[in-house]
């Protein structure tokens, strides 16, 4: 992980997300076909990709969902969603700071910075283990062209999520949604007569046979995830989902790549 990221993060004078042309380079396996510059490619036998200069980032604001529903795991072998979200947030901060970005946590009252002590302060924020009851980010005035990364389970109603995200997007803030889920939430692996109780004071629900509603539940769940992706697409934001039984490396890599390469194109 460190080597992959270290290869590129030297400073601003390099390839990355931005508006200005930086260089053409040979097409390599793994590049998106959309990135091919047809005009340049047509001039020779080779296939070229247009790359932009990574424009200096303004600041990245990371928000973690700290509601009670995050402090839950379906099995003792899996980490809590909150813990996984904290790890991802902190690891992302490390990568971004190495890349020269200004980073802070949304709602932590810390100013975005990339100083040496930033990480330490961020870790302290996580250590405090604050809890709030709302599963959605607070609407704070962010500077234009800032980026916001939201990490949470996003199980709230879609329109509420969209409202929250749109209030940021309206200010020109780019963003990325990372949905952290427990496998049990996706698969509903329960049977028999069961009473389900929410963690955030929701109404409880008694099911006589859980297995019989598994299919409709999965449909709803899928609709939730797709709806989230739809919101992100409409706002031109990034969206990815991560399950706690998978390795966080992949999620982090995808998130990082999405933030440094694919964005702004």
């Amino acid at each position: 992980m460190a080597t992959t990221v270290a290869q590129g993060v030297h400073g601003r004078r390099r390839v990355g997300q931005g508006e200005t042309f930086w260089q053409f380079r040979r097409y390599e396996t793994g590049d998106s076909p959309q990135s091919i510059d047809w005009r340049q490619s047509a001039k020779s036998d080779r296939v070229f990709v247009r790359e932009m200069e990574w424009e200096a980032a303004q600041s990245v604001w990371i928000w973690r969902d700290t509601s009670p529903s995050m402090s839950w795991t379906s099995s003792p072998e899996l980490p809590e969603k909150r813990r996984r979200a904290d790890i991802l947030a902190l690891a992302l901060s490390v990568l971004l700071i190495r890349g020269g970005e200004f980073v802070t946590f949304l709602g932590s009252d810390l100013r975005p910075s990339n100083g040496k002590t930033t990480l330490e302060r961020l870790a302290k924020v996580i250590d405090r283990g604050d809890r709030e009851n709302n599963g959605l980010p607070p609407v704070l005035p962010l500077p234009r062209f800032a980026q916001v990364v939201m990490i949470g389970d996003f199980l709230s109603p879609l329109d509420e999520i969209e409202d929250a995200a749109r209030s940021y997007a309206a200010r020109g803030v780019k963003g990325h949604l990372l949905q952290v889920l427990d496998p049990a939430e996706e698969l509903l692996p329960y049977d028999g007569r069961t009473r389900f109780e929410g963690l955030e004071g929701e109404q409880s629900w008694l099911l006589s046979r859980v297995e019989s509603v598994r299919e409709p539940y999965r449909k709803r769940f899928k609709a939730q995830c797709e709806g989230l992706g739809e919101i992100a697409r409409r706002l031109d934001w990034g969206y990815s989902a991560h399950r706690t039984d998978k390795s966080p490396n992949t999620a982090l890599l995808a998130l990082y790549l999405a933030m440094t390469q694919d964005r702004g194109r």
């Binding site: 007569r193 409880s204 629900w205 019989s212």
Partner: protein, 928 residues
């Protein structure tokens, strides 16, 4: 007790609780099972979802019926129903159990205890007191064991503790104690007899009837006790008489001869003919074994009289052989001792030593070769020993011929010896004449070739003819004998070796010595030590030797418990009787000197009890009464367990798809699981077939499942990435990769196996090793990946963890010799031209089977490297690489893919790329 003919309830009032059943029905009906509660963050998505069909909130009917059945079973079980209940006991007073617990009762003792418990159970139901009377004494002082009037519960405990004793019963004495007890009302008497009559058994039965109704229980005639009497000895065989009580029918028994410590020396069948009360077993054993026998016992007859203990007196006649010091040992094959030893051994126990040593122990015969003069002391002791019953067997020789004023000789001898057939004589060597009738040798066949060259001659006298047992053909005596008080002195007029005669070489010599030994008295036995002998081991009632209890007295001195030569078993005259103070067993200080004290020598002939008038007779068979209580309660318990499992299942706490749980339920319920298992097996074979189709319909890359989830995930993703590259760049259109469990799965389907090595992988089982070897020998290729950049340079010798793991995993697999990939190897040019083979790491050496081995058409079977290729190949579903490569950039990943392509092409196409077709192109690339 509620009696309904076939069925009776012991506790009928419990049936009243059946009234409560409808109430329980109602309660069960209204209580739905409780749901389990779970916290669930995504509950919002569940709201409003309802199962398509509504589960009834009430317990299903069949479950209620099951639970009602459980309760019914418990109520009926507690009411204790009896099938075929026994009739009421006669009389109204106490129930008296008269128990013969003498030696003869030991057989079928369990049946007797069961009979006691049965009678006590019936007495308990009728609430009657029980009296137990044991007819065998516990000690000589007490008259009999009579218990006071006991409640049934105490009586049952007492009855179960009664043990048979290894001595005789004394029924009249027992009866007297019973008569002195005050029994209220008319008693009911059950006499649990041992089935043997004695002098007063009839009188006993008559007097018992004075108390009330009497029932006599006795065993069948064939099941009565049997006795092993004192064995006799005819010099060759051990004759064991066996006796039984009834003379009806043919019975086959087995007699075992046991040595010290219970080892079986011999085991022979002995049969009673119809009409006979006795039978004989002739046991022929080599002396060594014969003398080791300490017990003769009848198998499956566990009583004190069915085991006969043997001591020194019952052994073969011991013969002492006097050896006269070391001079004779210089030429052992010529010495007289050697010939005598060989001749005596087959039929007697031979001991060697000086006269003093030999006389210290009991002897039947003392053989004295020609050893010259005896000292006065020795001859006095020998004389005393002979007079008290010993047989002294002497042999002539040069020393005796020279000096013959010895009085331990049967006849007076002339001085000097007579030489026949010598160089200076006219006579030829003399032969034997026929043995006269009346001598011990009568009937022995004379072998013609026996000749005597020298002998000593007896002075003629009047008694010489009587004293002579054997003569030469010229009438001169060869063997003379003279009785001295209880003993004998016998002289053989020639030597015991071949100096004077070849008699010692003939088979006749052995027979003659056997006859002579048979003349001897044998060993007197009994406690000759004149001190009381403490008990060493005594028998219990079942004929087993146990350590003696505190009440056992020493065997008194100077009396003989058994007289050796008068097996007068009918009348046990002298000797110590077998009684509570002197139970049968071994007495003495140690195992060498012990004396056997046997019950069989004190028993009269056995008589069966037979029919007694005025008394009801019955046998010890089990009654027809069946108590249903335990069965009903067991059924209730099993159903309750089933109910518990069912409720767990219904509440979802037990998953139905867990096969182990399902099996456990099936087993615990005792449901025949045959059908289930057969279904399982069919499913298994279907799975196998499905997997085989899956593996073979497309070419697939395969990797070995290590058990480590992360490694397996990377392996799968890696091969997926490689498959994708292959599909894009080559004509290999492989399917999705498969994980292979080398313990379970068939390997033959895959051309190439990728095996990442982890340190905690389990070593393959012998079965898996066999499969791997088959795979390698029949065209398979395995790529071992150590995934460890440090484990590079050498495979043998360097001991990194992964190296060790590789060595451990493949220790039994047929790994061929390896070498680093040579520069011209096909692997370097099978698709791409390659110099290095990087994976996620670069630089590690790649080892491959040497090209010398021509197996599999020259395709290497084993490739070993450490570069973690799967790590480099691994991609996500979206085609993004999962792991970074070090130290190179994406170019290194590309090279890793190229290696993968080369490897697959190599494995699939074999050595055809080794042909020359690429030479021109390669030359061009090389710029030449």
């Amino acid at each position: 007790m509620l009696d309904l003919g076939l069925l009776a309830f012991t506790q009928p009032w419990l049936l009243a609780t059946l009234i409560g059943l409808p109430l329980i029905w109602f309660l069960l009906r209204v209580t739905p099972p409780a749901p389990k509660t779970l916290a669930f963050p995504a509950v919002r998505l569940l709201l409003g979802l309802d199962p398509p069909e509504e589960t009834p909130a009430r317990t299903p009917l069949w479950l209620i019926l099951l639970r009602m059945l459980i309760i019914l079973l418990i109520i009926f079980g507690l009411a204790q129903p009896l099938i075929n209940p026994a009739a009421q006991l006669p009389g109204n007073g106490p129930v008296v159990l008269v128990i013969d617990n003498g030696w003869a009762a030991a057989k079928n003792w369990d049946g007797k205890v069961n009979a006691m418990v049965e009678v006590i159970d019936r007495a308990e139901r009728e609430d009657r007191a029980v009296v137990l009377l044991r007819t065998a004494k516990r000690s000589p002082e007490s008259r009999a064991d009579l218990s006071p009037l006991l409640p049934a519960g105490e009586a049952r405990e007492l009855a179960q503790g009664i043990q048979p004793h290894p001595w005789q019963v004394d029924r009249l004495a027992a009866l007297e104690t019973l008569e002195s007890q005050d029994l209220e009302g008319s008693a009911y008497i059950v006499w649990l007899s041992d089935g043997l009559a004695d002098a007063d058994s009839n009188a006993f039965a008559e007097r018992l009837q004075a108390f009330g109704d009497v029932t006599v229980l006795q065993d069948q005639a064939g099941a009565l006790a049997k006795i092993v009497r004192k064995p006799g000895d005819d010099g060759l065989e051990l004759v064991v008489p066996v006796e039984r009580a009834s003379s009806e029918g043919i019975e086959n028994l087995t007699l075992t001869a046991l040595a010290e410590g219970g080892t079986i020396v011999a085991r022979e069948a002995v049969a009673f003919q119809s009409g006979d009360k006795t039978a004989e077993l002739r046991l022929r054993l080599p002396t060594e074994l014969r003398n080791r026998v300490t017990q003769l016992s009848l198998e499956s007859e566990s009583s004190a009289a069915a085991t006969y203990l043997l001591d020194e007196s019952s052994r073969r006649r011991p013969v002492g052989l006097v050896t006269a010091g070391s001079a004779q040992q210089s030429q052992p094959l010529l010495s007289e001792v050697y010939y005598l030893q060989r001749a005596l051994e087959p039929y007697s126990e031979v001991r060697q030593g000086s006269i003093d040593e030999l006389l210290a122990r009991k002897l039947a015969v003392l053989a004295l070769p020609d050893i010259g003069n005896l000292t006065t002391d020795e001859s006095d002791r020998l004389g005393n020993w002979v007079e008290s019953g010993g047989l002294l067997l002497r042999f002539a020789g040069p020393r005796m011929a020279a000096d013959n004023d010895d009085d331990l000789l049967p006849v007076r001898l002339r001085g000097g010896d007579r030489i026949l057939g010598g160089a200076l004589t006219w006579d030829s060597p003399a032969t034997l004449s026929d043995f006269a009738a009346g001598t011990p040798f009568a009937g022995l066949d004379i072998a013609g070739e026996v000749t005597v060259e020298r002998q000593v001659l007896a002075e003629p006298s009047l008694e010489l003819g009587e004293k002579t047992w054997a003569r030469l053909s010229d009438g001169t005596p060869l063997i003379t004998a003279d009785p001295r008080d209880k003993g004998w002195v016998v002289l053989v007029h020639t030597t015991a070796n071949t100096d004077w005669s070849n008699l010692a070489l003939s088979g006749l010599f052995v027979d003659m010595l056997r006859r002579i030994v048979a003349v001897s008295q044998g060993v007197a036995d009994g406690n000759a030590n004149s001190i009381p002998l403490p008990p060493l081991e005594v028998m219990n009632g079942f004929g087993r030797l146990v350590s003696p209890g505190a009440s056992v007295m020493p065997l008194p001195a100077a009396t003989q418990p058994e007289t050796a030569d008068t097996p007068d078993t009918a009348a046990p005259a002298g000797g110590v009787a077998v009684d509570p103070n002197h139970p049968p067993g071994f007495y003495g200080e140690d195992a060498k000197q012990r004396i056997a004290h046997n019950l069989a020598n004190h028993l009269p002939a056995l008589e069966p009890l037979g029919v007694i008038s005025g008394v009801e007779a019955a046998s010890y068979s089990k009654s027809e009464e069946i108590d249903l209580k335990p069965w009903l309660l067991l059924a209730a318990l099993i159903l309750a367990l089933a109910d518990m499992l069912l409720s767990l299942f219904m509440r979802g706490l037990v998953r139905p798809q867990m096969p182990s749980a399902a099996t456990a339920i099936a087993v615990s319920l005792g449901i025949a699981s045959g059908g289930l298992l057969a279904g399982d097996a069919r499913a298994q074979s279907l799975v196998d077939e499905g997997r085989a189709l899956e593996a073979t319909l497309e070419t697939r890359l395969a990797f070995v499942l290590t058990g480590a989830e992360r490694v397996d995930g990377i392996s799968e993703a890696g091969l997926q990435g490689l498959t994708r590259i292959l599909r894009r760049r080559t004509s290999v259109e492989a399917g999705a990769p498969l994980g292979v469990n080398i313990e379970r799965d068939e390997l033959a389907f895959f051309p190439l196996l990728y095996w990442p090595i982890t340190t905690d992988q389990r070593s393959p089982s012998p079965d898996a090793v066999r499969k791997l070897n088959d795979y390698l020998n029949n065209g398979g290729t395995i790529l071992f990946d150590l995934r460890d950049p440090s484990a590079t340079a050498r495979i043998q010798g360097q001991q990194s963890q992964t190296n060790l793991a590789l060595q451990r995993l493949t220790s039994d697999v047929n790994i061929p010799s390896l070498e680093p990939v040579p520069p011209e190897h096909v692997l370097r040019k099978s698709f791409y031209l390659m110099q290095e083979f990087p994976g996620r790491y670069a630089g590690g050496n790649l080892w491959i089977e040497t090209s010398e081995s021509q197996a599999n058409d020259g395709v290497a079977r084993v490739i070993v490297g450490s570069n973690d290729w799967a790590g480099a190949w691994a991609i996500t579903d979206l085609g993004r690489p999962i792991l970074p490569v070090v130290p190179g950039k994406e170019a290194q990943r590309e090279m890793a893919y190229r290696f993968g392509v080369n490897l697959v092409m190599y494995a699939l196409t074999g050595n055809y790329k080794a042909d020359q077709v690429h030479i021109p192109f390669i030359l061009e690339r090389l710029g030449q």
